[in-house]
Structure formats: C-alpha cells, structure tokens
C-alpha cells in the first residue's frame, strides 16, 4: 500500500513548492481582480468603443483554453520579441484568464445595485465616477464576493497548468520527484492533499469574510 517513508521524507519538499503555488495564486488574484474590475467598467461604459474592447477581452478569454493562452504568451510572444520568462508568463496568463471571469462577476454585482442608489448619489452632486467608486462598487463587490471567491478557488487549481512552462511549483515538483522515486501515487496524492488544503482554507476564509460583511450591515 502507501509507502509512508516516502511520504514523510518528501512532504517538506512539496510543502515548500506549495509556497510558490501560493505566491503565483496571490499575484494572479490581485491582477486578475484589477483586470476584472477594469473590464467590467469597460463593458458598462456609455462609450461604444470601450464596451467593444471589454467585450472582446472577455469573449476571447472565455472561449479559448487556458493552456493555449499560456502557451501563446510563453512560447508565442518571444517570436514577437516579447520574452516574459516563465514566472511573468504564468502569472499574466492566469491573471488574464481569471480576470475575464471576474469581469462578468463584477458586472453582475454592479447591475444588481438598485438604480435608486446611483440616483441618490447623483442627486447629492456626485459625478458618475465618484458615485461609482464610493456608492455602487462597494455594494457590487460585496454582492460579488461569493462568486469572486469561487473564481479564486478555480484559479488556485489552474496554477497547476504553469508546470508545463517550467515553473517548479507544486505539480512540477511532484512530477520531478516521481522521476527519482518512481512513486507517482504517493507524490500526486500529497500534491492533491496540499491543493485541497489551499482551496479549503481559501473557502473558509471567504466564508468568514461574507459573515462579517453580513453582520456589519445588520
């Protein structure tokens, strides 16, 4: 059955690789949120050209596989003289990808804010940008947090794809250790366990955040 000796011996290596997975996830999360926010605002802009740009971004990302997007950035861009290296390429692909999904989530949140909120803000002399920033967005993001959290959990799991562009994160570390130990079952089991820890912790923290927001508004 399980070779516990291997597990005990190699677990620290995988744990260390999990740190890189976490780092990639957090940076992609941050930029993915910004991309999503900008794209959502573009899609809701009164300007037709801006709407088109936002719509195109969301459409192209959501209608193509993440792996192809990743390869396009890592293998394709250098041909045009843009060589971002594995880390930047990985983070950019992940951020662009999760950003497109965040855009739809945030747009939904913005639309869900009752029109009376914007009217009240405007009637107080707030301009469109100020009203969006101070009144509409804070409410929209609160509404969007469960779905954004879901996108984040998906993002964490998707980071395993960057193992294909030589980023030695959790999945690639497991693969390499298999090369020297010939213990694929133990290694992938540990990797799966560590992904589960990451995603579950994220879900629990997000759940706490949701409850706190709910309490604050009581």
């Amino acid at each position: 059955m399980l070779d516990w000796g291997t597990i005990v011996h190699y677990f620290p290596f995988l744990l260390k690789a999990t740190l890189l997975t976490l780092k990639i996830s957090l940076i992609s999360l941050l930029f993915g949120f910004l991309f999503g926010l900008v794209a959502a605002l573009l899609k809701l802009s009164p300007n037709g050209l801006l709407r088109l740009i936002g719509g195109f971004y969301v459409w192209i990302i959501r209608s193509t596989p993440l792996l192809v997007q990743l390869f396009l950035i890592y293998f394709g861009l250098p041909q045009l003289g843009i060589d971002l290296g594995p880390f930047m390429s990985g983070v950019l692909a992940l951020a662009l990808n999760t950003g497109a999904y965040n855009a739809e989530t945030i747009r939904g949140g913005i639309i869900s804010v009752p029109s009376g909120q914007l009217e009240a803000a405007r009637s107080l002399g707030m301009g469109p940008a100020l009203a969006m920033r101070r009144i509409v967005l804070p409410q929209a993001i609160r509404v969007a947090i469960p779905a954004l959290g879901n996108n984040f959990v998906i993002l964490i799991k998707d980071t395993s794809l960057v193992s294909t562009i030589t980023l030695v994160e959790l999945t690639l570390t497991a693969q390499r250790l298999i090369g020297s130990t010939y213990k694929p079952f133990e290694m992938y089991l540990m990797a799966a366990f560590l992904y589960a820890i990451l995603t579950t912790t994220t879900s629990v923290l997000l759940g706490k955040l949701e409850t706190r927001i709910a309490v604050e508004r009581r």
Binding site: G116, A120, S123, G125, L130, E216, R217, R218
Partner: protein, 261 residues
Amino acid sequence: MSSPDAESMQMIEIHNLKKNFGDNEVLKNIHFNVKKSEVVAIIGPSGSGKSTLLRCVNHLEEPTSGEIYVEGVLLNDKSLKGRAFQRHLNQIRTKVGMVFQQFNLFPHMTALENVMEAPVNVLKETKADAEKTARELLDKVGIAEKADSYPGTLSGGQKQRVAIARALAMNPDVMLFDEATSALDPELVGEVLRVMENLAKEGMTMLVVTHEMGFADRVADRVVFMADGYIVEEGTPAELFRNPKNERTQKFLADVAHADV
C-alpha cells in the same frame, strides 16, 4: 444663461416642459414656478407624471423639450457637453436636495457616514466639520442616537429622517420630496411629516409630491393638481381643497376622501 424672470426671485422656473418615454407623453407642456421659501404640494392620480416632473427638476430625467431654471440657471443647458455638462449638473444638484419614496440610503455606510458622504467628497469639507454638521442634523431630525447604526437596522421612519438629514447636509436651497411617506407604516408617517413641517417653517423652499392631503392642506402655500401629464388646477390649499373648479380635481378629491374613510 440666466432666465427671463431672474429678477423675481423664482427658485424654480419651468417653461414648456415636455417629457416622453417612447410614445408615452408623460409631461405635456408644463409651465410652473416656485418662489423662494414657497412650499408647493403636487397631488394627482397615479401615473399623472408627478414623479417625472420632480425628477426633471434635478435632471434625473432628461426633458424631451422645454427649459428648467434653478435659481435663474438653465439646468438643461444644451451649449454644455460631456464633462462640462456633468460639472454644471453636479453644481446645481448640490443646491437641490432630493428625498425618495424608497429612502435610497447607502446600506454600506452608517447613518452618520451617509450624511457626511457628499459634504466630504463633493463639497470637500473636512471630516471634522462634516461630522459636526452631520451630528447636528441627525439631532435635528430626532435620531442623534442612531448615528452609528447601519440603515438595515433602522425603521422606515428613521431611514427617511436620515435621508432628509443627508440631503440637508449639502445646505440646499430647495428640497424635493417624492412621496416621502408612502413606503412607511402608517404609525411612522407622522414623525417624517413633522420633520418636513419644521423645515417648511424654517423657510425652506419645498416641492412635495404627496398623497397626504392633510399635510398639503396644513403646510403648503400652494397646491398643484396634476392629471395625464398636465397641471389641471392650482391654488392655495383653501381654494383647491374646498373650492376646486375643475371637474377632474373634484372627482380626484372625492375619491381620496372616500379612500380615507
């Protein structure tokens, strides 16, 4: 651009106002003035265009044609475009307070923060000044003790009083009320009407769309009856309520009287 009647201290002047929603003519050629410190009540059946008229006065609805002057300044100034027009609107809106039927308090802010929001971010008052004014206003509308509560915890009457304080914090020259008490439980109507009555006594110019005929009779200087997008009849409360000339006014008042019994 200044208005034709700028000399006469009109707070609001409306000339030839028309508003269509698609094919639906909601306001048909409205002429209408409000003097400084005047309290005007607008009454009329549902769908007659009362809210639309009120919302045109701070450009929440864009008139299809006609002119609206606020303190002598043309609101829908077609010579201004884009950002210049937004700035123009914002400037006028700081002088026109609006209170909505559904309160529209900002749910992610406490009562105090709701009241401070626009003075700090629009008028650029310091937080300390804005908070001082906000607390005074909350006290004035009788809910100083709810300053740190979120709207979700307040009753309808309390919410509406916060909303009035929020509008007053901009130090407006005119206040618009769109059925401010219609969403309230009957026992909470009085507390809001009292706040409005006090404002009127202090000389605030007020344009009040209401179904509270008693309030209109007691507080308004003038009552305007609207039907089908027209101003059908206007006059002092005594004239309009006790001696209505127009048949439609008579019928409306009779219907309302029956509903009250």
